[in-house]
């Protein structure tokens, strides 16, 4: 978070000469990046976000590289509009970054030490690259210290740890079989600190920015799934939002690179696209801020770079089983429900049945046995019969 001497983001941007329009554009880009799932962006306009962000103190960010290719840093910098990269760097205060800083050697080590001391307990630690753990971490050393030790030391002082890229999240490329260095993600190495993973090779820079700002303004990390990936970006698989999904659903597949289906932009599933099993946001937020610039958009099947079990584990052209579309339950079942019990009607039937039944019972109880009732009648009938006998040709009509 902020220290006494840190200035607010708004003040710093103003000092840097960044126009308010650029800042608002940045905020709206964050909204696009994370429309749901971030308290920062939910139900707020770009102006409101700008206000909230502007009020926050510039967060101190320490960025450590381990077994990486620096691609995650590049993704942060390789934005189409240079001032956006600057914007990002103006919003956060990047106090230590080996690729971007001018210092090296002992100066670099000193810079790290002072950055940690100045912001102890308050800085956000961004980890890029996997951490080798085999043989006591001898495969990588930073300033003579094993990487694993550096990671543990620095993270112990951090407020939160962001693992950017697949390598930092779960091991990435270095961890591919046979994983000779024992490369692992940061959350397998340290514990006791809030960690969030942003896998991807490379990941989307706006996801990083959104996470940092959420932490800075709201004081907490966004909601995460069981792999500590933020749900706003990693909840869905590529297949769910893929622009080519209609082709999949309609059975139009490219079966070979360059064939008619491929040229028509049909679904790449049969070429081994791992979209159905890869959680990422690439299908909605393409690369380098250019729409259509992402693997599938370029006709290249997704390799599943965010998933530990997919990329470098499965064959590039191996088709994945589709678990989701065991078709979604939007299809009617073979036997559909119909009708139902209505309480009022049931009560009415009960009342009627009960009424009729009890009436029948009561009526039955009223019947006397024949001997009782018949007695009085006998005498009357006998008298009547005698009377008739007296008038043989009696009345014809009565």
């Amino acid at each position: 978070m902020s220290t006494g001497e840190r200035e607010t983001i708004a003040a710093h941007l103003q000092k840097s000469g960044v126009s308010r329009r650029s800042f608002l554009q940045l905020c709206s880009k964050i909204m696009i990046a994370a429309p749901v799932g971030l308290s920062l962006t939910s139900k707020r306009t770009a102006a409101q976000i700008a206000k909230i962000v502007g009020k926050a103190r510039r967060p101190s960010v320490i960025w450590l590289h381990f077994q990486d290719c620096t691609g995650c840093t590049e993704t942060l910098l390789r934005t189409t509009a240079p001032d956006v990269a600057h914007l990002i760097l103006d919003v956060i205060s990047l106090d230590y970054h080996e690729t971007l800083m001018a210092a090296s050697g002992a100066q670099a080590e000193a810079a790290l030490k002072s950055a940690i001391e100045e912001n102890a307990g308050k800085f956000v630690l961004v980890i890029e690259g996997a951490i080798p753990t085999r043989d006591d971490g001898v495969f990588m050393e930073l300033g003579g210290k094993p990487a694993i030790q550096v990671a543990k030391e620095v993270s112990s002082q951090a407020a939160a740890v962001i693992a950017i890229g697949s390598c930092a999240s779960w091991g990435g490329v270095p961890s591919a079989d046979p994983n000779p260095t024992g490369a692992m993600g940061i959350d397998s190495v340290i514990s006791g600190k809030p960690i969030i993973n942003l896998p991807g090779c490379p990941p989307n820079p706006y996801n990083l920015l959104a996470v940092v700002l959420e932490y800075v303004t709201m004081g907490r990390l966004p909601e995460m799934d069981e792999f500590k990936r933020p749900k706003f970006a990693y909840e869905r698989v590529i297949h769910e939002n893929c622009p080519r999904r209609a082709h999949f659903d309609a059975g139009r597949f490219a079966t070979a690179f360059g064939d008619e289906g491929h040229r028509n932009g049909w679904c790449l599933y049969k070429l081994g696209c791992k979209g159905p099993v890869t959680h990422a946001s690439c299908s909605t937020r393409h690369f380098n801020e250019i729409p259509g610039v992402w693997p599938i958009g370029c006709g290249i099947p997704c390799v599943g770079c965010t998933e530990k079990s997919v990329v470098w584990r499965m064959g590039t052209f191996e088709t994945v089983p589709i678990h989701l579309a065991t078709p979604p339950d939007t299809y009617p079942p073979i036997y559909s429900t119909a009708g139902g019990l209505k309480v009022g009607a049931a009560a009415l039937v009960g009342v009627i049945a009960g009424g009729v039944g009890s009436a029948a019972w009561v009526a039955s109880q009223r019947f006397q046995s024949s001997t009782e009732a018949g007695v009085e009648r006998v005498s009357a009938d006998i008298a009547y019969a005698e009377k008739l006998k007296a008038k043989p040709n009696g009345r014809k009509e009565d």
Binding site: P333, A338, Q368, Y384, L388, K389
Partner: protein
């Protein structure tokens, strides 16, 4: 009257004559309550005609037939087969004692069929096309439903109506002496065609009551095996027979109880014996059929079908047992209960294959909607109302002979109910007879 003397010693309540119920007003609380139900039903029927069948009933795509067809037509006309069953016993099998019950049987049948057919018309979705009934070459004679609709309509409109005319004619004869020549001429004509009318009155119900059973044959496996059988038409016919005996004799007993008439145990014993044997035969056929089809095992599952089956069978057998016992012990109570139970069981039997034991689809349910129930109830009430009016206006209910004379003297000394015109003297029997001298 020597025969009368000896018969009096044996049977003090011998039913010798049908006598109108007198001394009880037509319009009383019960009548008004029933009339209210009828009015409600009529209003709801108008709503049904405008809104369609969906909003007024619980019928759905899986259960196309609701209680209107399956209860009011299938069950109530079975209860109203008295003209058929009691008639055949009396006229074909010469059970002479049952002639005393004939008018009751005919009247109950008439109202049961009238109300059943009215509801059949209301239940049909497109009733204006019923006119095709007039063109026999348009009938689909393979269809049991065609057979039912056509046969029932012809039966109710012709033989049953004609059979119910004699009490009306009789009343007209007594009503006004000026009408007598005309009445006698009509009566003579009627008597000449009676054999043909009565024979039709036995053939036609035999056909359509069994075809009511054949209706569910086409549903095949969807009717539970405890009910679905090729013998379904015969079983339906048998059920109609014993149910209608129950209805006629039971109603007569109830009427005698309510209106304080004597009950002729000879006739009732005869009816009870016949009913009991009909039931035993029917139960035998039913169980043999179930056993030979190998469906008896399903009767011992713990599901609602087995439950309904056992309720039905136990109801009918206990009813038959009570009937037989009541004949020996001359116990009216158990006789009445026997009729009620056996008829109730028969009603469940006839009702089951179309609703309780009908499983078109494992997920579907049917329960009648409130409007549906009210309409059904209303039309049954209509029948009861009609019955109440008729039994108090015409000579239907059997009674010992002296009852007639009591009735005649009751009317002779009472003022007419309504003094609208001189002609419409809704009154009594024999007021204008100059030969009548006062007293008995």
């Amino acid at each position: 009257m020597s025969s009368a003397t000896t018969s009096i010693n044996r049977n003090s309540e011998r039913w010798e004559r049908a006598v109108p119920v007198y001394g009880f007003p037509v319009v009383n609380g019960f009548f008004l309550a029933l009339s209210a139900l009828v009015l409600i039903a009529l209003v709801l029927t108008a709503y049904r005609e405008l809104a369609g069948l969906g909003p007024v009933s619980g019928m759905n795509d899986a259960y196309g037939w609701g209680i209107w067809k399956t209860f009011n037509v299938m069950v109530m006309t079975a209860l109203g087969s008295g003209a058929f069953a009691v008639g055949i016993a009396a006229w074909v099998f010469r059970r002479k004692k049952l002639h005393a019950l004939m008018r009751m049987a005919l009247l109950t049948s008439f109202f049961a069929y009238a109300c059943g057919l009215l509801l059949l018309g209301i239940d049909a979705g497109r009733p204006w096309n019923f006119y095709w009934i007039v063109f026999p070459w348009k009938w689909n004679m393979h269809s049991p439903l065609a057979e039912v609709a056509i046969c029932m309509s012809i039966y109710a409109m012709i033989p049953l109506a004609i059979e119910n005319i004699p009490p009306v004619l009789e009343r007209l004869w007594y009503f006004d002496s000026r009408l007598r020549p005309g009445v006698e001429k009509i009566e003579k004509r009627l008597h000449s065609v009676f054999p043909y009318v009565i024979a039709a009155a036995y053939l036609l119900p035999g056909m359509h009551q069994s075809s009511l059973g054949a209706l569910m044959l086409l549903a095949g496996e969807r009717v539970h095996p405890l009910w679905q059988t090729p013998w379904l038409p015969l079983l339906y016919l048998g059920a109609a027979c014993f149910m209608s005996f129950g209805c006629v004799a039971g109603t007569t007993m109830l009427c005698c109880l309510v209106w304080k008439r004597g009950m002729d145990m000879e006739v009732l014993d005869e009816a009870a014996k016949i009913t009991a044997w009909l039931i035993y035969g029917w139960l035998g056929l039913r169980f043999l059929d179930i056993i030979f089809r190998g469906a008896l095992g399903t009767a011992f599952h713990f599901d609602r079908f087995a439950g309904v089956f056992w309720i039905e069978v136990l109801s009918i057998s206990v009813g038959a047992y009570l009937l037989q016992k009541s004949v020996k012990t001359h116990d009216k109570r158990s006789m009445f209960l026997g009729y009620v139970l056996s008829s109730a069981g028969g009603m469940i039997y006839r009702f089951s294959p179309t609703t309780l034991a009908f499983r078109p689809n494992p997920e579907a349910l049917y329960f009648p909607a409130t409007i549906e129930i009210l309409v059904s109830l209303g039309f049954i009430s209509l029948g009861v109302v009609g019955f109440l009016v008729a039994v108090k206006r015409f000579a239907i209910l059997p009674a010992p002979l002296h009852e007639w004379h009591d009735m005649a003297s009751y009317f002779r000394f009472r003022r007419p109910y309504i003094r609208w015109t001189g002609y419409f003297k809704f009154g009594y029997f024999g007021e204008d007879d100059p030969k009548m001298t006062g007293g008995d």
